[in-house]
Symmetry: C2
Subunit: 267 residues, 2 copies
DNA sequence: TATAAAGGTGAATCCGCAC
DNA sequence: AGTGCGGATTCACCTTTAT
């Protein structure tokens, strides 16, 4: 299988082509099915640039469920017994996704809270500021206990204290946020590299294969490369693929944390 | 309906006796179905006193689901159109509960993260420290928009900054933790009063009726009384009821925050 | 009496292998 | 599938005991 590449195509169709037990880690950032109805305005009357992409539209819960059941089933099939899977979502979709994953036999290891240091406030004062997204980290099933978890490395990364399931990380903004030719954000839901860094650093070894079925602008690939991991991305939209390729090819720097693992291997 | 009382009986049977549209707020802390298998020991060889109560045992996911569908349906029926419901859970159950609530038409307003300041570590280094529980705050449905939310009060309570969906609160320990005659914790999952304080303060008015279908040792009732709200608790176990009654009868002090609302009403 | 050391504990899906 | 055992493993508090 060719690695460090982006496959252009439909997520489900492409996942079906993977052999069983072939992937070490899956990171999935699926559509959230946000069900946004009306435009949202800030107090100063400027419009909030929300997620209204066609790919985030589903007709009903069951349509969204069907979609998730299908791609998650394929993920389970192609995941190695020692592998694990991460899925990120918000309250709009994570309870449906989590329920499906449990029904498919995935075994939840942690529900990690991405605690945003700079969330968008609730302008109308109708709710608490929605300051989190949730990452579900799961092994292939209850009996698969040999999943990779670099406990000591994450402890070191966290200042010699065991890392908790709450990760305080800022939104992906400014220089890190990819812009299109029009100067606007190229992807509506680009994730911060720090998030992927913790995911990949904690649950893979160097040389492992990381698969991202919703590759977008390639944050997973960029971080995998910086950490000496192999990656495969699946993405439908050519515009995203173009940006991701450019981004990943430009990477020359390695995160120093990638070397920490070597120490463990030598020891 | 008699308020400020504890009903002894089965949660579902008792909920069925409530009239429609009669309750302002529901706080539910249902069994989590933790599925604990073996004993767990700390590195110093002391045994962790885990949750092994009979009330937390369910035969299967579908058995647990059926239970939750039934009591949540009743909750929806008896909730006022201006009311809202909170359900707390961990990753063991919250994805099933959340999925069911969505299917029943509840409308998620926030998924609040209880970020524990002093969680129990993962002793064997097999996962991240599980540092959170999740509270789902929902209105009766998408079209019910007149739910109570004391935005200004919570902002004041939070040092004049809008409160976010992440609440850093310690575990219920020491003096606050109710003990039995044997000196051991009376209830295995007693919640901190600070958690209920934020729930009741933010989403009810003085004099409102708060219902807790899994009353336990009565944290909801105690906080409701301190905040000048009425409460009804449903609880099956006599031992818990005895403790809760004693606890609530002993309360003479009011949380000063209860008075804040009067200011709003006067204004 | 003051300070230090030791002990207790919390909604926890917490190991791996040999026999 | 169950049992037994060697070995690696923890954070923030507060309470109790020791120096």
């Amino acid at each position: 299988m060719k690695v460090n590449t982006i496959i252009r195509g439909d997520c489900i169709e492409e996942l079906k082509k993977f052999p069983e037990n072939s992937v070490d880690l899956i990171f999935a950032d699926p559509p959230y099915n946000m069900q946004l109805k009306n435009a949202l305005y800030r107090p100063n009357n400027t419009k909030v640039d929300g997620v209204d992409d066609a790919w985030d539209k589903f007709g009903s819960f069951s349509e969204y469920d069907e979609f998730c059941i299908t791609w998650l089933k394929e993920c389970k099939r192609i995941l190695k017994d020692t592998g694990s899977i991460w899925v990120i979502g918000s309250y709009h979709n994570i309870f449906r996704v989590g329920n499906i994953m449990l029904n498919l036999g995935f075994w939840i290891l942690n529900d990690v809270t991405w605690y945003k240091t700079n969330p968008m406030p609730n302008f109308l004062g109708t709710r608490f500021t929605n300051a989190t997204e949730t990452l579900l980290w799961c092994s292939k099933g209850e009996k698969y206990k040999k999943y990779t978890f670099n406990h000591k490395m994450m402890k070191k990364y966290n200042g010699d204290k065991q890392m908790t399931s709450v990760w305080q990380i800022g939104l992906c903004i400014r220089g890190e946020r990819l812009k299109g030719d029009d100067g606007k954000k190229a992807h509506s839901t680009q994730k911060p590299e720090e998030l992927l860094k913790r995911v990949i650093l904690s649950t893979t070894k160097q040389g492992d294969l990381v698969l991202d079925p919703f590759f977008g602008t390639g944050t997973t690939g960029a971080v995998a490369k910086k950490l000496n991991r192999n990656f495969i991305g699946i993405e439908r939209e050519t515009a995203y693929i173009t940006l991701a390729k450019k981004r990943i090819n430009a990477i020359r720097v390695m995160f120093p944390e990638a070397e920490w693992e070597e120490e463990e291997i030598i020891k």
